[in-house]
């Protein structure tokens, strides 16, 4: 029936047509994460030329663990940014979750799985309270989360206590950021990711053809999944190389444990945003809250849930934070929230709401981490990292504002 339709779905035509369509969208301001990906390539090239260590497996593994905490936080923040809101308290919520994790294990002898649940539940609770104040009382999220940002720093001092630092010694928690998986697990992970990707794509194609709709050319799916396979195999091979400083004493090779954790969060979050009613409502509320309300969407409930998701991600980020530092101090998480917001925005998530994906936050997280990592390797003064990161954020926000104006002018 779609052949006789005067109204098309935009999926007709060849690979070339799809490509042309993409170019039109990019020029119209829907750039997505394209600038961030280009930036990633350019930055990586510059740093690789400036210092060969940049390309060593040890540095790449470092980069992954450096970015994991910020990326997890940024993925949670993406939900909030999609509503056009902000969560300044995400970093200190992560810190406080880490604090509860450490205290419950160290001071009260709680088993690590329970401590992990406590940390995550704390994050969820914070999100619920913030969401309630934003959605039901009507306080701007900027103010609510700024208040939480200040209050939680004080609370963290109380939780951590006099020592100012609590060590983490549960091996499974430490392993997340510091230990690699067995070599074969890296390959299994890649195969699972590949199969899931192909399977979900094929299912949505079948669904479309079942209701008489034309799907995008199969060549696109093949090209995309082959790219995924090749890049993924490259990464796994690279990470499976020996990177220990002294292999004879301690061998260090394999994909870090944190990688599957971040991938699971990415896949679950992306599924929720793209394939469920709730996800659709998040985009709708971010695009036009009044229209959503009139369409019968419970806007308040969406807001509260989104803040809970963001803070739950923050709770998980707190566990990563504790794992990486092998300890939790009074200042934990204080500085990472701005990096996380920068990561999301640099990756292509709009500050104005309604536009962005979780994968954008991951790509943006890499950009922020590479700047930090690369400038450090070049040996520039450490203050410059922050200056460059700030400049990149401003650049991304400028691009965001301009593309918004462009797409408005197009209407």
């Amino acid at each position: 029936m779609s052949n006789q339709n005067s109204v098309q779905t935009g999926n007709e035509g060849s690979l070339l047509d799809s490509f042309k369509d993409y170019i039109v969208r990019v020029r119209g301001g829907e750039t997505g994460s394209l600038p961030a990906l280009l930036g990633l390539v350019i930055l990586a090239t510059i740093f690789a030329v400036a210092n060969p260590i940049f390309l060593k497996p040890i540095n790449f593994a470092n980069l992954l663990t450096q970015t994991a905490t910020v990326t997890t936080l940024a993925m949670g923040l993406t939900f909030v940014l999609l509503l056009g809101e902000i969560d300044l308290s995400a970093g200190v919520t992560a810190g406080l979750s880490a604090g509860f994790l450490a205290v419950s294990m160290f001071n009260y002898g709680v088993a690590w799985p329970i401590a992990v649940i406590i940390a995550i539940l704390f994050g969820m609770l914070v999100g619920f309270l913030v969401g309630l104040l934003v959605a039901k009382v009507g306080i701007p999220s900027f103010v609510v989360t700024l208040a939480a940002f200040l209050a939680f720093q004080g609370l963290q001092l109380v939780v951590i206590g006099r020592g100012g630092l609590i060590g983490i010694d549960a091996p499974p928690i430490l392993a997340i950021m510091n230990k690699p998986m067995p070599l074969i697990f890296g390959w299994i992970l890649l195969i699972i990711v590949f199969i899931l990707y192909v399977l979900t794509s094929l299912i949505s194609r079948r669904q479309r053809s079942a209701s008489g709709q034309v799907s995008k050319p199969i060549s696109i799916l093949i090209a995309k999944s082959l790219t995924l396979l090749v890049v993924g195999a490259g990464v796994v091979t690279f990470l499976n190389q020996e990177r220990g400083a002294n292999p004879a004493v301690t061998s260090l090779k394999g994909v870090p444990w944190v990688v599957p954790i971040v991938l699971i969060l990415l896949a679950a979050g992306t599924f929720v945003l793209n394939r469920t009613k709730f996800g659709r409502h998040v985009y709708a509320v971010g695009g036009n809250a009044e229209a959503s309300r009139r369409a019968g969407i419970r806007v308040d409930r969406v807001r509260i849930t989104v803040f809970m998701i963001s803070s739950t991600f923050a709770g998980i980020a707190g566990i990563l934070l504790a794992s990486r530092q092998a300890s939790v101090d009074a200042a934990a998480g204080r500085s990472i929230v701005l990096s996380a917001i920068a990561a999301a925005v640099v990756g292509g998530v709009s500050l104005f709401g309604g536009r962005g994906r979780l994968s954008d936050a991951v790509i943006g997280g890499f950009v922020i981490a590479i700047i930090d990592n690369g400038l450090g390797l070049i040996g520039l003064a450490s203050g410059l990292n922050l200056a460059v990161t700030g400049a990149v954020l401003l650049l991304a926000a400028t691009a965001d504002a301009i593309s918004r104006r462009k797409s408005r002018a197009g209407s």
Partner: protein
């Protein structure tokens, strides 16, 4: 046509805001397959009458008959359950979503919690096709990319998608150019031809005379005229609107 039972019939509905009586006992009826225009100057009570039908601001007294049965309209939900849908002037579309998403906004179709995009897409496309919409090329376009007329089309198609019996259009042509006004008016005509009862509120008498079958005139909270288009003229309607003339026997 007039022999058929009206889809909606209002008898002596009243509404006041504090001491201000906005609707002073209004009779109004709408028939399937017809475009009914509701005209009147600012403050005549058009919006109040419509908001009562939408269930947003219930009437204080009077009778509402829906397909001959007496009903209550006290919430937007009741109205939409009866099949009454309002396309507001600001259209209430989400710019960042595509046409399909907007047409199913708040009423997304899902299988086991997973959105059924294929089903929604084909239903949206066939609705637009059934309305002979040719101005919209792809249902997967973002609404931000559409022209004013196309947006109006999407908003109207959304009201049609759910098999509503009554579609109320609030100033559908106010923000449009000549060509797009023409397209939207044709669409309004096709809605009525498809058997819907269409109410159109407009300040533009030329549009009203192009598309309407029947014209109701509100003047300071009273219905001062209810005429068939074929039995009146623009200058008469202007006189009704400005209050210089009143129809003798109003058969609403």
């Amino acid at each position: 046509m007039s022999s058929k039972t009206p889809v909606i019939e209002l008898r002596e509905v009243k509404k006041s805001f504090g001491p201000v009586e906005v609707l002073k006992g209004v009779n109004f009826s709408v028939r399937a397959g017809e475009v009914t225009a509701l005209v009147g100057d600012n403050g005549a009570g058009k919006s109040t009458l419509i908001k009562g039908l939408a269930g947003i601001q219930p009437y204080e007294s009077g009778t509402i008959l829906f397909e001959g049965n007496e009903v209550e309209l006290t919430s937007p939900r009741q109205s939409s359950e009866l099949g009454i849908d309002v396309v507001y002037q600001d259209l209430a579309l989400c710019d960042n979503l595509d046409i399909v998403h907007n047409m199913f906004l708040g009423r997304e179709q899902a299988n086991n919690g997973v959105l059924d995009e294929g089903h929604m897409e084909s239903k949206a496309a066939s609705t637009l096709t059934s309305l002979s919409v040719r101005t919209v090329k792809s249902v997967r376009q973002k609404v931000a990319r559409l022209s004013g007329g196309q947006r109006q089309t999407v908003a109207i198609a959304r009201a049609v998608l759910w098999n509503n019996k009554v579609v109320i259009l609030d100033e559908p042509t106010a923000a449009l150019g000549v060509a797009q006004t023409e397209q939207v008016l044709q669409l309004v005509r096709r809605l009525a031809d498809a058997g819907k009862a269409v109410i159109i509120i407009s300040h533009n008498l030329q549009d009203v005379f192009t598309v309407a079958d029947r014209i109701y005139v509100l003047y300071l909270g009273k219905m001062t005229a209810a005429v068939k288009k074929s039995e009146t003229s623009q200058s008469d309607v202007v006189a009704y609107i400005t209050g210089t003339k009143t129809q003798e026997n109003i058969e609403a």
